[in-house]
Symmetry: C2
Subunit: 680 residues, 2 copies
């Protein structure tokens, strides 16, 4: 019941006012009816008029789509498969989806997210611009998609992973058999004969299932090469399944895929199942980025547009990467018989087309934390249709299979020392424990570390400023960019460097406020607030100053505060403090590039012995690789997921207290940061 | 090697001269080559000419098809879905596929299988008539398909079957659950919550599989009726599978089907799974009859036309019968959640589209003797798509699930007395044993008992003569027909009566030769041979004499000889003779109508105490009914199939000796038939 209008509203309308969401009370809801009425009228009007479409052309790739009048340019780009950075999922809030109008006309947009200079240069925001004409747009240089900096890819891979798996046991095994031909005295059915052969080969046939399709082709398959066959058997949780029986028992090459499905980027390893060597490694942006940077926006997008669309986006990325890997290894997709895949809970749900909406609604329930073995064809992964797909289990909505995969790779659950495992990105996931127990929690760090909500923030792509130092005398910055390219923006590690330097060199106070004003030559008035000039216009790719504002600083402080509060609360819940932690292991692509000293300086990481810190790199792909090759590691993953104790912070007052205390540089309790206290 | 032409011929050509049959020696066979050469030329000529098609209309149902010139009328009828009795599968040997030409012209056919009078009345054989014009044909009254006489259908069914199953345990169980809603403190995944509920309800969740489709819809299904759900779980051999989760946990009606898939006729019982009561029973002709009467012709047909065609024929019959049963019980197909089906090995293979060709080739190997639980949608049975389908296992190519089903129904394997179980039709299947051991064998009785190869032979349909006695003085026959209708032909039980009467009344000698000649008013010269007039033309539906020839007698003697030889050899293999047999149980629709005394007289059944004989009726449907309702009986069926010792007669010289001895009326060893000896 709406208290203002005195009418009955459905739950969904009351909370989100989105009439496209299905709600069982909707038939009683006037907002829903009004929406449906309008939609019907609009459809009828459209049908009567048979309006024309407009052509939108995207440069420099030259992709053209026809869209209905009034469509946004963002929708047109999604339709055309053109990657546009839409961090906020088209809400008009982040200002990242910039395009340049090359021809045609659009209505002017009074957005404050574009500078006057940008507006002069015909910049526009894709999500706020409606198509009313045939137009051509181009993607500005600072927004062109470039190779992401991904940890741990390269030639050293095979060496790095050697020795991780001692005995290879794939999920799908190919068992070569030579059967004795039937006679009148030995006239058991073909299936019984096959079972007899499998039993001799050591297969547990009492738990064996054979499907109808295999049966339909069995008799010819067994006779075509004189009773020599190769049997593909999948090892499932509680039974084995014969997926294929092929004539001939010659050995053929068998390949595997380890896939890390990240919210931002996806990594694929192509593995030779005979010896575990990595034949190719590829990585790329998750195409779902068109629906927002974080998992919450992806779920909202799935609720609006259907989970199938999100699934096809991520599958398209995965399958392109598989093709790239196969091409470089000169192999065929049919050779891929095994796949192990890790991703956070939202990523796996979306990939599998499983309804994700309850992940983002209290009490945050996923459909499944553990999955059976699927076939590649069921999911849509471009491999042999019968390839077995193992999906990393994940204990909770916000601690998923990527973290369990990281555990498997790190092995902390096999050892004695008390270890804090952290993976910081848009979400911060934390695991605390050792071989006796494991506790885990997640805290929403916000998108700042990935560049979201930061004026010149970007991911660690080419041209991102990743390292900064500030001259103590002139206060002038010097910097280093990813790939040594002309600067385009600043990424997470660069921001941590920057804030640490600004704090130590006295540019800002512990509240994150500038101590300088605009009279200083390195400072600038943006109209709303003051900002520090990192790179002047003539040295950037866009011909604009790259600046860092107080709002940017505040965003970053909130992010680091949430992560640090997470560490503190998890330790307190276990009755421990930082002094008792033997090791801090940092996982994730972002973690790889963290400067630990500077992270301690801003209060992101605790101020303990630096020797206790270790970088793991992309541990999610590492665990997927291990699970691909070994049944023991698959079993370990299931046990980790089942045995982790998940602590929910979302309604914890303890967490709110710790968070508030952490909204300082480095912290309200400066005694917890003795090394920083000395430097200041 | 052909002794006449001195050339090498393949086995198939030597025996059947059908070059379309696959044979491994065919590449050396000149007949096969010549046939292939002609066929290729014909195809080339047809492709050059691009000929038009002709219309063929079938009356009285008025079905019209267009066919290419030169197609046979039999092919046109199959195309149109018109049932035509084609016992010999279009070889032009049986003369059963009669049609009457109503309009259009056809080339005259010199077949000896039509009488001059028939030819005058524009009768033709569908398999020997090629379409060269637009024509209309009608099905003659004697060939119109009528209701088969099926044993054991009717109102007494529910009573007869009551008490057979004490505890109902369906394959697919619907488990109603009321789950506790999740909270922040109890935030396990939906799937884990479901498993918890199932575990409380007594389900073994460690062996539970949940497929992707169920997962995709799980979250909404659980929430739509406030955490009340109904879970459909299938019990498989080594694991259980969740097939559906529906919102709401109200009880709904659950129906089951017991199906007997016979080569000739199919019986369907619609069963209330709550109490096992039979709501409806229907039966009809297997549409595969268009491809021949026996399993061998069906397999040949599957090799020619593809197993899919044969499968769709039997499915069409089954689904029509299901619809009929549902209509009479005013129920919906979606309520059908369980199916148990029995049939011989060829029938189950064809139904499941499993390659059947090796069943008829030495050493006679079926693809499978035991099947996993299938879903109705996989097979194409019109029930709820997720309905669980149990297929009766069968130990050998010629002793199938119908016999195992009969065992389950008879219960002889649970008891002490030594029992001979016999099922006589086109194939005679025999089981000998008790609770300690079971032996089984099959002998090819030929189609005579089903009316095949007999001039006026027919199945036990309306108008078939089923009982005959002959006046000892006038030698005039008096008879009774199925349904009391005007006579159309004679069925198996009628033939046994007839030969027994002719033997006892001195019309024929123990060699099966007539002692009367054509001077007798009841005898007639057919041109080739003498025949006994059973019904004169004015008393038949067709206006023609129904006669019985020496060839007919010979066919029947061969059939009964094969069956009796089977009994003898099986007993000898077990080191026994007839005197040690405690019971003879007769199964099958045909057995139901056997007169035991007369069967002994002709030497089909052994001459032992008549009190030892018992009719079981259609035991195959009985066992299917029991397996539908009880897991114990399903398990029993698997054990019977696994533990039966199968004896192969096909290359047994002992069998050939016994067979030759049995080609007498009643037997060369008259001392084995003391009661017949007395009467003669």
């Amino acid at each position: 019941m709406c208290s203002k209008h005195g009418i009955y509203l459905c739950e969904e309308c009351l909370s989100c006012r989105d009439p496209d969401i299905y709600c069982k009370f909707r038939s009683a809801c006037p907002i829903w009816y009004e929406h449906k009425r309008k939609a019907r009228h609009a459809r009828q009007a459209a049908a009567l008029e048979k309006v024309d479409t407009y052509k939108v052309t995207f440069e420099p790739t030259i992709k053209t789509v026809e869209v209905a009048p009034g469509s946004t340019l963002l929708a047109a780009a999604q339709e055309a498969g053109v990657h546009i950075n839409a961090s906020c999922n088209g809400k008009g809030a982040c200002g990242k989806c910039k395009l340049i109008l090359e021809s045609g006309t659009v209505e002017p947009d009074p957005t404050p997210l574009l500078t006057d200079q940008e507006k002069e240069n015909k910049y526009l925001l894709a999500c706020r611009t409606k198509v009313q004409d045939d137009i051509t747009v181009s993607i500005p240089p600072e927004a062109v998609e470039r190779k992401l900096k991904v940890a741990g890819l390269g030639e050293e891979l095979s060496v790095q992973f050697k020795g991780l798996v001692s005995q290879i046991e794939p999920i799908l095994k190919e068992i070569p058999l030579e059967l004795t031909p039937p006679t009148l005295d030995d006239s058991v059915s073909d299936l019984d004969r096959l079972n007899r052969g499998l039993k001799r080969a050591g297969c547990d046939v009492t738990r064996l299932n054979v499907g109808l399709k295999v049966m339909q082709e069995l008799s010819n398959a067994m006779r075509n090469e004189k009773w020599k066959v190769k049997v593909s058997v999948i090892r499932k949780k509680c039974s084995n399944e014969v997926l294929k029986v092929e004539p001939g028992n010659d050995e053929s090459r068998s390949l595997g895929l380890a896939i890390d499905v990240g919210t931002t980027s996806i990594v694929v390893y192509l593995v030779d199942m005979a010896d575990g060597s990595i034949l190719a490694a590829t990585s790329g942006h998750n195409q779902q980025a068109a629906c927002g940077d974080d998992v919450i926006n992806r779920i909202i997008c799935a609720e609006k547009n259907g989970v199938k669309k999100l699934s096809s986006m991520v599958l398209s990325t995965i399958n392109n990467l598989i093709k790239e890997a196969l091409d470089s290894a000169e192999s065929d997709y049919r050779q891929i018989k095994n796949v192990a895949l890790s991703g956070n809970t939202t990523m796996t749900h979306l990939l599998l087309k499983i309804e994700p909406r309850y992940i983002r609604r209290e009490p945050y329930i996923p459909t499944a934390s553990e999955f059976p073995i699927f076939k590649a064809v069921e999911i849509g992964i471009k491999a042999n249709p019968i390839a077995a797909v193992f999906i990393m289990p994940g204990p909770a909505s916000y601690v998923g299979g990527d973290i369990v995969s990281g555990m498997v790779y790190s092995g902390l659950h096999r050892e004695n020392p008390l270890t804090l495992f952290i993976d910081v990105g848009t979400n911060g996931e934390i695991v605390l424990g050792n071989k006796d127990w494991l506790m885990t929690a997640a805290c929403s760090a916000g998108p700042a570390f990935e560049g979201g909500g930061i004026r010149w923030g970007m991911r660690a792509e080419e041209g991102a400023i990743e390292k900064i130092s500030i001259d103590p005398d002139t206060l002038k910055p010097s910097y280093q960019t990813v790939g040594g390219a002309v600067p385009r923006g600043i990424c997470g590690s660069g921001m941590i460097d920057l804030i640490s330097e600004m704090l130590l060199k006295g540019l800002i106070d512990p509240n994150g406020k500038f101590r300088l004003d605009t009279s200083h030559p390195l400072m600038k008035d943006t109209g709303d607030e003051v900002a520090y000039i990192l790179v002047t216009a003539e040295n950037t790719e866009m011909g604009e100053d790259i600046i860092f504002t107080e709002t940017d600083i505040n965003s970053l402080v909130m992010s680091k505060g949430a992560v640090y509060a997470g560490f503190t609360v998890l330790l307190k819940q276990a009755g421990l403090d930082f002094s008792m932690v033997d090791r801090i292991w940092i996982s994730g692509g972002f973690g790889q590039f963290l400067d630990i000293d500077k992270s301690v300086t801003i209060g992101l990481l605790p101020d303990i012995d630096r020797g206790k810190f270790k970088y793991l790199g992309n541990s999610s792909i590492g665990g997927a690789y291990m699970a691909l090759l070994s049944d023991n590691f698959r079993q370990e993953a299931r046990e980790i997921s089942n045995n982790m104790t998940y602590i929910d912070f979302s309604s914890s007052s303890q967490f709110m207290d710790e968070y508030t205390s952490a909204l300082f540089l480095p912290h309200t309790n400066i005694d917890a940061f003795p090394s920083v206290k000395i430097k200041q």
